[in-house]
Symmetry: C2
Subunit: 316 residues, 2 copies
């Protein structure tokens, strides 16, 4: 017990006792077993984040900010990969909950009912991210994907485009963006001039293939909205290969504002979300909860909408 104290709160132990413990620990290359510690104290100092795939760089800013913020308060972040598959997410979260992390950060708000029920019963603080819903499991930091689609449509129509096409991934959040885009067009008496849906995880190549298909259906399309900057880059490359000038002949708008998007040529117009803020807010919500005395209601709101906005660059 004295050894435990010497390591975790050296100040309450006599200096020479502490020194002796330290020396022994050093000699034995002792690494505390935090599994046992966590089991006993019911505190793991671990948060597990679940993202669909490391392939998608759109989550990078969120993850890095989340990690940095948690770290400052002595929490470690580990990542699980759900592979864009609901079944896989269920399995993964069984493992995650079973590990009793102090907090869980999820991407997306669409989960199986069983998962939801388990998460609620587990009494582990959960932050859902990257989308909005009227019925979050617990806490939520997101934005309206539907609005992202609307904003993109409004921007393109406002810029005089009339034959607008879509290249969309098939994940639920991308589909929400699609819906918003279509709704905004309808309100203006327009409709989409074409659409290609690609399967997540997406690649640049899928987007390159999409352009000729859209053109075959309607050779006069003058704008394309893609569900991610990655897809938009693919369209940009294909346009370049076909010597279709962007933005004169074709406007291209993406989503996510990847760190690369400002530096493509032409640079990419995109609907941006402040990923760092998502990560930071999520971390703070969790940290608030960790510190809160039981029964005390936190001052921090449990739902934050970080919004989104168009960043106009050269591509449209």
């Amino acid at each position: 017990m004295t050894a435990s104290r010497a390591i975790n709160q050296p100040e309450v132990v006599a200096p020479d006792t502490a020194a002796r413990v330290r020396a022994a620990a050093e000699r034995l290359a002792y690494v505390p077993n935090r599994v046992a510690g966590g089991l006993s104290s019911r505190k793991s100092h671990v948060v597990i984040g679940v993202i669909p795939s490391t392939l998608n760089p759109v989550f990078t800013d969120m993850v890095e900010a989340l990690r940095a913020e948690l770290l400052r308060s002595g929490y470690e972040l580990f990542l699980g990969l759900s592979d864009y598959a609901t079944r896989r997410e269920d399995e993964l979260l069984d493992a995650v909950i079973g590990r009793r992390p102090d907090g869980i950060v999820l991407t997306g708000v669409v989960h199986s009912p069983e998962l939801r029920w388990r998460l609620e019963r587990a009494h582990i603080p959960v932050v859902e991210t990257w989308d909005l819903t009227p019925s979050p499991i617990d806490m939520l930091v997101g934005f309206s994907n539907e609005k992202v689609g609307r904003v993109a449509a409004e921007h393109l129509v406002g810029a005089g485009r009339r034959r607008l096409a879509l290249v969309m991934a098939n994940d639920p959040r991308a589909q929400a963006r699609r819906q918003g885009f279509a709704a905004a067009l309808r309100e203006r008496g327009l409709e989409a001039a074409g659409e290609v849906v690609v399967r997540a995880p997406t690649t640049l190549g899928m987007a390159r293939d999409a352009l000729p298909r859209l053109l075959a259906a309607d050779a006069a399309i003058d704008a394309i909205f893609c569900s991610s900057d990655q897809l938009a880059m693919g369209v940009l490359y294909e346009a370049s290969a076909r010597a279709m000038s962007v933005p004169e002949r074709l406007a291209v708008v993406g989503f996510g504002n990847l760190s690369a998007s400002a530096f493509t040529y032409p640079s990419l117009t995109t609907v941006a979300v402040d990923g760092q803020r998502v990560g930071r807010e999520a971390a703070r919500m969790l940290l608030d909860r960790f510190e809160g005395k039981p029964g005390e209601t936190s001052s921090r709101p449990r739902v934050v909408d970080v919004g989104s906005h168009v960043i106009v660059r050269e591509s449209g």
Copy 2:
């Protein structure tokens, strides 16, 4: 105890007993506490992978293959981010070892001496990846970064290029590629016509900035080798913006063969490594070790060199 068995090995329990346990578990939304289970059985069924950053997509294939292969044998993969910083890696690994995972997968072979000592003492199987070293901590699946640089230089010189420049990240593996490149040039009586070193984690923008700097130092450079495809894409964009034709005026070669690299325009010549194989081999080495009876020597070699090769595409 019967409940424990009913959940973990239902076949050894009377059918109706098992059914009653299942029903109760269902009703209570019981999720086994794998922390306690792991503490007791000394088996966590978790492997922790440490990568520098989710930002760098070069590790994606490795991570996905590693995850898939482990999953098939009932192991879960979690990821920790080391941020390209040795100090951070030390802290992170204290947390990792403290969690007593069944295995650890590291990227890179350069670690602090204390870390090495701790890892050895912890008796947790460790696979280092993405590089070679004569003195691995335990197991190793990698390739020679030095050779990657050589191969790139040989390819470019073989293609008639004579004024070769470099855009390199400052991480140890990129620096090894640089050394190999320089050595191969020296052996041919050449030397690098310019070099820009950028700080990891790198961005496309850094590479765009690098091109004018190289050109200012030597306007006649005819080839650039970049330490990653990401940087190479930045150079490609900048060349495009300056209307420098690639590959006629300037050859560009990257490293990593990102999924995007085949689909850029012009498509990117790169030195490729089979990341999936790295992940698969690492997983199998670990699984072999997990299954091995103590004292039994595994049949699988402890060091695998997966090699690297040039993929010639349009950019050079």
